[in-house]
């Protein structure tokens, strides 16, 4: 199966790679959930996988983690072809969070560490340390069932990090968190990257990807039409011009590009290839009465629409939070 070739060919990243996946394919009962995905995640990056519900994000992450094997393609995680071979260096927070309800918070964190090869005694010591550092020290000896949902999620996030992984994979990490805890998690993710940890997360919220990511993979319908730095994605579409005029009609309108669309007193269109000067001249000569004019670099949302298509963008916007929070 030919891969999507989603990586931007113009962009050659010199950084070493934490993840290198090529042509990943996964089919379920005749349905192709992931169709030739290529990913190159640099070491120490915060990397977002952005797409609507059902795009193939979780399936891609599961293949990267070795939970399921791809039907075609190859993957190399931290230099290993079999993800379980480097399990000690990986942390994973699944979309569906869950811990043993009868376990105490400290034990739950230590257990998650033990699964990644951390001795229980050391796990308990670190668990206490982490809980104290994140303001949850008072809950250390409480059972998970006695904690609020948000607190239990924080405990699980700490359990994901207790063994100090080199690569952390979060699947929809912000779903189910309130704004305060979303902010805390964003800071934690940035902190991890600053310490040299590679962070990958999937999301359907463009704002999170835009705020956090150095690199992003846009995924829709099991394919990755773009993978690379966020700036490169934004540069895929021309800067947007936003023009406000006093006059509504006049000969000057003929000078507006074909994609110009009216929003009240404003006109929005892509910056013409000839630049803004010929347009300004025409507007002045046509007595359009320019009230304001701004040229803005395209946002990730516009880039997503341009790259993945309007339908995918609509699906992204329509993905309800409760769906994601399951």
């Amino acid at each position: 199966m030919a891969s999507n070739a989603g990586a931007d060919p113009a962009h050659v990243d010199p950084r070493p790679l934490a993840i290198e996946a090529s042509g990943l394919v996964k089919r379920f009962d005749g349905f192709t959930a992931v169709d030739g995905v290529d990913l190159r995640v640099p070491v120490g990056a915060v990397y977002g996988i952005l797409g609507p519900n059902g795009a193939g994000k979780t399936t891609t992450l599961r293949m990267l983690l070795g939970i399921i094997d791809p039907d075609a393609g190859s993957r190399r995680i931290l230099g290993a072809e079999r993800p379980h071979d480097v399990a000690h260096a990986i942390g994973y927070l699944p979309e569906e969070r869950g811990l043993y309800p009868a376990m105490k918070a400290t034990e739950a964190i230590a257990f998650l560490g033990a699964l990644r090869g951390l001795p229980l005694k050391e796990g308990r010591r670190r668990a206490h340390e982490l809980l104290e550092r994140h303001g949850l020290g008072y809950a250390a000896e409480r059972q998970i069932r006695q904690l609020s949902k948000g607190m239990a999620q924080q405990v699980q996030i700490l359990g994901t990090l207790v063994h100090r992984p080199k690569l952390v994979i979060f699947d929809e990490p912000f779903s189910g968190l309130d704004a305060l805890n979303q902010g805390k998690l964003e800071r934690m993710m940035r902190g991890l990257a600053e310490d040299g940890t590679t962070v990958i997360f999937s999301t359907h919220v463009i704002a999170h990807a835009e705020r956090l990511c150095d690199d992003v993979a846009i995924i829709a319908g099991g394919r990755v039409p773009f993978a690379g730095p966020v700036d490169v994605a934004r540069d895929r579409i021309r800067p947007q011009v936003r023009l406000e005029t006093r006059a509504r009609e006049g000969a000057w309108r003929a000078a507006l590009p074909a994609d110009a669309r009216s929003e009240g007193a404003f006109w929005t269109f892509s910056l013409p290839e000839t630049g803004v000067e010929p347009l300004l001249r025409a507007l002045i000569e046509g007595d359009a009465g320019i009230l304001s004019l701004s040229i803005e670099r395209a946002g990730l949302h516009d880039a997503f629409v341009a790259i993945a298509g309007a339908a995918a963008a609509r699906a992204l916007e329509e993905t309800p939070e409760q769906e994601q929070g399951r």
Binding site: F28, D29, F31, A33, N53, G54, A55, G56, K57, T58, T59, R62, L65, G66, I67, I68, D69, L78, A80, H84, D85, V86, A87, H88, A89, I90, Y92, P94, E95, E96, R97, G98, L99, Y100, P101, A102, M103, F111, L112, A114, L115, R116, G117, E122, H163, R164, K166, D171, E172, S202, R326
Partner: protein
């Protein structure tokens, strides 16, 4: 702790140990283990109650009594004699019921007295102590003749008679009776093995469903191989069950010390009791691991308790058939049926335990245990593979299900994204 970057992975056994340790302690200190320990008490209590009530009903309904129609002095002497002899003769003496005390020269129609059917009176004793007369059904009065004679003699003399000691001389058992005895031992061992296995396999199933409810299975699957998850769960439950068996055995031992044997001793098995018990533990472990691995695969694929029940029902039925198959095969030692039962993995532990009770050869057990262990490995691998390919999936099939049953609680692992 060194800050050196750690890569690598836990071995399958080390990872299974992490899972088993958690499960073992979690189950051991749970309420369900307490009820698991009490489990065998319920059938015992119900059985004892039913047996006791049944015995009383039977005793009151069926114990025939001897009605007495004599002169008052003779009756008093007879009752006193019976009271004296009862501790020695016990149930051999018929119970006496005074029907009428006769006056001087008074006569009685014993046939009419018997026809009156007072209580459980099955025969009537009349006449006097020198010449007692028994009236009643022929078989019964023949049986009671000796006892009545003894009672009358005791009543007449008024003091305890000397009874001769009866010498006992045991004879070697015949080959036929030895085989019959060992068959009983084999049947008992098989039944106990079957009941224990079923009880525990059910527990491992519900344990995994609970795990899926806790939504932690994906964390396990991402960190360690699924084989380790399965092995860990199986061996944790095996450990729990061995604790249970040790507790029950200890309790039975204490009862034995306090009250002596509660049941009639079973005939000695061919390999001897110590080895049969040891093989019993090994075959129990194998039977449990075999069935448990199948149930674990079912549990991992089901997402609700109802689904588990639906899926496990055919397996339970098949297991019953396997048990019957092994029981039947036991009656044909050395035959084709027994060999088939020993080879078929699920019936093999049952058939081999029965064989241990009937045949002293040990080498077949070594081979059988190896064969069964191989099948445990195969089944766990199949279960883990099924789990990875059928459960960890996304896609439209899942969404279709949701459309038709929006309120259904489905597994967290099949989430599409």
């Amino acid at each position: 702790m060194s800050e050196q970057i750690r890569t690598g992975r836990l071995s399958v056994l080390a990872a299974a140990w992490v899972v088993a340790r958690r499960d073992f302690t979690a189950i051991l200190f749970s309420r369900s283990f307490f009820f698991f320990l009490l489990g065998p008490l319920f059938p015992v209590i119900v059985g004892a109650l039913a047996g006791s009530v049944g015995a009383r009903v039977q005793a009151s309904a069926e114990q025939p009594q001897l009605g007495v129609v004599m002169r008052g002095a003779d009756i008093d002497a007879l009752l006193a004699a019976r009271a004296r002899l009862a501790p020695v003769a016990g149930d051999a003496l018929p119970g006496l019921v005074v029907l009428r005390r006769l006056g001087h020269n008074e006569t009685v129609d014993t046939a009419r007295e018997l026809a009156a059917r007072k209580g459980n009176v099955a025969a009537v004793l009349s006449g006097n102590l020198a010449m007692p007369v028994l009236t009643g059904p022929e078989g019964l009065i023949r049986d009671w003749r000796g006892s009545v004679s003894m009672l009358a003699a005791e009543a007449r003399s008024g003091k305890p008679e000397a009874y001769p000691e009866v010498a006992l001389k045991a004879a070697a058992t015949s080959a036929a009776s030895e085989r019959r005895g060992r068959l009983t031992t084999a049947q008992s061992a098989q039944t106990m093995l079957f009941l224990l296995t079923m009880m525990l396999a059910g527990m491992v199933l519900s344990n995994l469903v609970e795990e899926k409810g806790n939504k932690i299975i994906e964390v396990l699957a991402a960190a360690i191989p699924m084989d380790s998850v399965f092995f860990g769960k199986l061996f944790a439950m095996l450990g729990v069950s061995l604790v249970g068996i040790a507790t029950w055995t200890g309790a039975a031992g204490l009862l034995y010390l306090a009250h002596g044997p509660l049941f009639q001793a079973l005939p000695e098995p061919a390999v001897g009791w110590p080895l049969l018990v040891a093989l019993g533990v090994v075959y129990f472990a194998m039977a449990y691991l075999l069935l448990g691995s199948v149930f674990l695969s079912i549990g991992s694929m089901a997402s609700t308790v109802r689904e588990v029940q639906t899926l496990s029902m055919p397996v339970t039925m098949l297991q019953l058939m396997v048990f019957f198959f092994a029981s039947f095969a036991m009656t044909q030692p050395g035959g084709l049926m027994e060999r088939a039962a020993m080879l078929f993995p699920f019936s093999s532990p049952f058939a081999m335990l029965a064989r241990a009770a009937q045949d002293p050869a040990l080498m077949p057990h070594v081979l059988a245990i190896g064969w069964q262990a191989l099948w445990v490995l195969i089944l766990v691998r199949i279960g883990a593979r099924l789990f990875r390919t059928r459960v960890m999936k996304s896609g439209p099939a899942r969404r279709r299900k949701r459309r038709w049953g929006r309120r259904r609680v489905t597994g967290q692992l099949a989430e599409a994204n």
